[in-house]
Symmetry: C2
Subunit: 341 residues, 2 copies
């Protein structure tokens, strides 16, 4: 049954039938041995050893498509992620992959460019490949993904952005933003003798950003500084949007504040571009807070304070919920950790 070989390349893959023929036994024995449940079948140690040796020699690899079809279990787990343009999602993916592999699962990750259609398409593709569950990370429409999964009878989980139709694990955006805002206000007061509110830049005024704005307000209240409503700008995450927003703000609002709360490193990129072009000394005259972490930013200025979302703890919580397997749609909020230089 071993197929013709040309130039060292097998045209057909080795199957358990090939191994069975080579070992003078049956496919079912080979299957049992290779799956480690041969003690249950009381296969002789000798046969087991021979089968293993031959499988090794042939470089045999089980066909998971066939195995999954028969078992009705793919061992594949899916994760949807928006982009790879920052450390945050990068570390989420790295850690998720590793934790999945540690559990004997095969992770497939798709990056959907913050595009709702692509998210849905990706979820459907994953379902076609029989994933056991989907983690929707930072999805623009998590509930839609939950609906699709539910219709297919598989579970889904939300990470980073919450939904109402599946359990969610996210940062404590309110608490994190409140602490960060307070630190920045304090530093402006102590170091720059500025007792003024901050500008808020970046994100979409729902979900996480709404929570962060709430924390932003609470911190101002804590320090008895009035929020400037005309300086809360949820212009989206893109760097260019943030840059444009600031250009516009500084043109139209002459008595603007100087310190800022920036909603992500991506938005910060735009903010810094604008600073470089229009207000090059701003980093020496006011503090900035960033709800996100990048080590390069840390080197840019002493006056940019950051919080880092606690990815390891978030993923521990996620996998705990996955393992628990109950049907409540709990929301778990993980405090970010300070990353102040």
């Amino acid at each position: 049954m071993v197929q013709p070989v040309a130039d060292g390349i097998q045209t057909k893959r080795t199957t358990i039938y090939d191994l069975a023929a080579l070992a003078g036994t049956s496919a079912s024995a080979v299957s049992a041995v290779l799956n480690g449940n041969w003690k249950k079948r009381r296969i002789s140690e000798k046969l087991a050893e021979r089968i293993r040796r031959i499988a090794d020699e042939q470089g045999y690899a089980v066909n998971m498509q066939a195995s999954a079809l028969r078992r009705e279990r793919s061992r594949i787990v899916g994760m949807i992620v928006p982009m790879y343009d920052n450390r945050y999602f990068g570390s989420i993916v790295e850690k998720f992959e590793q934790m999945a592999r540690d559990r004997g699962l095969f992770p497939i990750i798709t990056c959907t460019q913050r595009d709702p259609d692509l998210e849905v398409q990706a979820a459907r593709a994953m379902l076609s490949y029989q994933v056991e569950f989907i983690v929707a990370t930072g999805a623009t429409d998590p509930d839609h993904i939950s609906d699709i999964c539910r219709a297919a009878g598989i579970r889904s989980f939300n990470l980073d952005l919450p939904g109402t139709k599946a359990p969610s694990v996210l940062s404590d955006n309110f608490g994190g933003a409140r602490t960060l805002t307070r630190q920045v206000l304090q530093r402006n007061r102590d170091r720059f003798a500025r007792n003024e509110p901050l500008v808020f830049v970046g994100g979409r005024a729902v979900d996480n950003t709404a929570e962060r704005i709430r924390g932003f307000r609470a911190a101002h209240a804590d320090m008895e500084i009035a929020v400037r409503e005309d300086c809360i700008i949820a212009c989206g995450y893109a760097a260019q949007k943030a840059e444009q927003a600031l250009t516009h703000l500084y043109q139209t609002v002459p008595d603007h504040p100087h310190g800022m709360f920036v909603n992500s490193t991506i938005s910060l990129e735009g903010v810094l571009r604008w600073i470089k072009k229009e207000q090059p000394d701003l980093l020496q005259t006011a503090a900035i807070g960033c709800f996100d972490f990048d080590p390069l930013v840390d080197l840019l200025s002493e006056n940019i304070l950051m919080v880092k979302q606690d990815v390891p703890t978030m993923l521990d919580a996620l996998w705990r919920i996955i393992a628990e397997n109950n049907t409540t749609h709990e929301v778990v909020e993980i405090p970010p950790v300070a990353a102040v230089s």
Copy 2:
């Protein structure tokens, strides 16, 4: 055949047999219609339409495990990538995914942490899931992956780092490094009146880094500046390694040069940390070149010149080679693009 439903969750997935029963036709008709080759089978437009409607109503999704098993074609393609800690690999993955989807393929990406064992393990896992080919990106041992793939009868390709047993697409490391080095030397001469060689920091002294060192030397020769052999430090990519290397260099080599060629943004992170701690005015007294791009670095200083590897062109070349399907192990070198502020 439609299974019991509890709480809106189907316990069993809909199959083409369910659809066939619902439509009063056969599974093969359903299959043909859903695969778009129903004109070949001359199925009536009316039946086709009914089948499509019912499939839609049921939220049917083909089981790719079964389909792949039968077709002996998975439509899955694999990519191995080292880490998600920089923009370069991030953009490679984003673009690869998109190009795979555009071709009706399903990309699975695994991040292997620059760990040779993990690379092999990942390749084997992908083969078990019947990938049609594997792209090994920045692999520590590309030829090992090629061997494994060859034994399984599937093709492999190298990206970013070359191998001898599969086609390779990489940056023109020699040319890129030569140009970048020349620019930095020139800027040191023009702006800082320094006519001295550069320190080379980061990477492993093989493959790409060896080529870059060659370009580094060539540029020095071009400008008639003698290379300082004791200042070529291929200490690995990690930020901390670069930081330690510089600390050591400046302690042991008192007459060191000031300008630098840094081999990646990750190494640059360490270099900048060292600068901040030990030589905070260095960015005002010498230029630095970085073989890699990050928009945040661009904001850090006017005196850091970068080249950006040309990911779109590299991936176009990669997919061209994949499509060509011939057996030569060509090496394609793509010039990086300037990203000088």
